[in-house]
Subunit: 332 residues, 2 copies
Amino acid sequence: MVTMSDVARLAGVSKMTVSNVVNERGGVSEPVRRRVLDAIRSSGYRVNVSARTLKSGKTGVIGLAVPHVNAAYFGVLAEQVIDQAGRRGFHVAIEQTGAAAEGEIEAIAYSHTLQFDGLILSAVGLDPKDQRLPGGDFPIVMLGEQDFAAVFDHVGMPNEAGTRAATEHLVDRGCRRIAIVTGGDLSGVNVVTRRHRGYTEALLERGLPVDPALRETLGPWSAAGGREAAHRLVDSGREFDGVVAVTDSVALGLLRGFADRGVRVPEDVRVVGYDDVPDAEFAVPSLSTVAPDHRWMAAKAVELVTARIEDPSRPTGEHTAPFALRERESTR
Amino acid sequence: MVTMSDVARLAGVSKMTVSNVVNERGGVSEPVRRRVLDAIRSSGYRVNVSARTLKSGKTGVIGLAVPHVNAAYFGVLAEQVIDQAGRRGFHVAIEQTGAAAEGEIEAIAYSHTLQFDGLILSAVGLDPKDQRLPGGDFPIVMLGEQDFAAVFDHVGMPNEAGTRAATEHLVDRGCRRIAIVTGGDLSGVNVVTRRHRGYTEALLERGLPVDPALRETLGPWSAAGGREAAHRLVDSGREFDGVVAVTDSVALGLLRGFADRGVRVPEDVRVVGYDDVPDAEFAVPSLSTVAPDHRWMAAKAVELVTARIEDPSRPTGEHTAPFALRERESTR
DNA sequence: TTGTAAGCGTTATCAG
DNA sequence: CTGATAACGCTTACAA
């Protein structure tokens, strides 16, 4: 490995001068600068980040911990985060948490171990009162859930507002018996309870009854889970003319499941999802969905971590993404 | 920051003994070990990876550079790579190349800068003869393309064999005028030329003519591009009864584009894709496709980088993934 | 404008 | 079994 000393010897100067050239610190005469740059080029020298880190204590890396890199919405998010972080001179390392509190705690621990300067954590399973959460001033930004505001910076999804708008949209289209397909965890405050509340509130506001029988619980939060849910909804003989799905993946599975049973969308049942994944637009029928502004969320999250990296003691804040309702064929 | 010296002082031992305990090197008496562990717990000590790296020259991080983290096939690949690397004690940092030679060269440069131990590079734009490619012994495994065998380890897709099988499948289903929707770059050897060759070979073997008019060139390699290609195919009045798409994203766009024009799949046109992305199974109609074994590819790539990290001078090798043809509704 | 010295936190080596 | 010492490659502080 070529070190600074090697370059220094080659250029006939001291290490320090090389360091000054590399870091563009100025105070180096032009001829010396050229000699050093030539020496760097000819030797193929590269700064050793570890050594630099050892001094500065900063790595220039932000961690991004998500439930599954394989989830549809993740790509959109990651692409934006990488882009935004890059603009600020940070690199992004991605961790997978497996959608469990366990994995999320581990991601935080790893952030220390791997010397990230900060962490953007898309927490799904973690309880805000979890004893294992760090109290220190390591920069963490929570993404997605609504409950960490006091302890951490938080960038949230418009969960209630989004599903409320989706449900109202179905009512506007003439639906009167609207089912919801979502997860089973109704304890505490999480995506499930928040999105479910948006749905019930919209129904009540529009004077429609909330029928518990129209709540279908998902197995896996995936297209496969959605497909099975559609089968159960149809096969049970329950009557419904609209469905709110907790995510687009689930909604795409519903479309497939209804097709399996010969139920036409939107003629027999209208379907609306949540996320606006890239495929939603190209599904047959194309999927109406709640579209949170992913770009905004990524930008905000990166802005918050980098701000906290600079000033770990700044007050935490709560931020909710704006959203739009994309009306497509599945609710026409 | 708590350092090893702090722990040593707290436990009343030397740094070295702490180091030995932390790294489970043995040769430490049980009572001392306990004292050290207690001191570590009570102080909240964590190893400083930079310092360790500075000594060992290894970071334990493998880079994974892909064209776009947002591409459908990427999630599958990344999930597998992260999983496989984790089993071998490596972490994965993800880079985006933007599908350009420029970005791919940069990813290699960054791998040095960021001190990755090795790099898995899904190269799309890079020419094997590119002058900027490093000659040294930094462990790089090329993923996807077919041409780097002599210089780098290479894990390839079954490009020709895959599209050949796909095309033959269409012929078996009775198609006689089979179009191909693919990229425009027919120079050199790349995904486009290889997949295109599989298509032409299958046609010739089955005694069917290769009609250049049935080659439709994509704009973007995406669902949007596929949709537009479908429109052009239909609107131009060309006759065809089957389509081979260069990727599943494109194929899903085709399905959408044909739906726009009232062309029924598979009744009027049969469609086959390439990749077997998770959504392919849930599309309406579900998408027949070439399914390369992503798990195998990830495992092989990780196996190769780690092997090369241990022994940089080992000979390079060429490996092509097995595949299966998934027959679904779009070719029924 | 350039150079010298010290030290960041860890580990390999070798002595006790 | 335990500890002192010297690196690893770089940067901060200060001297020339």
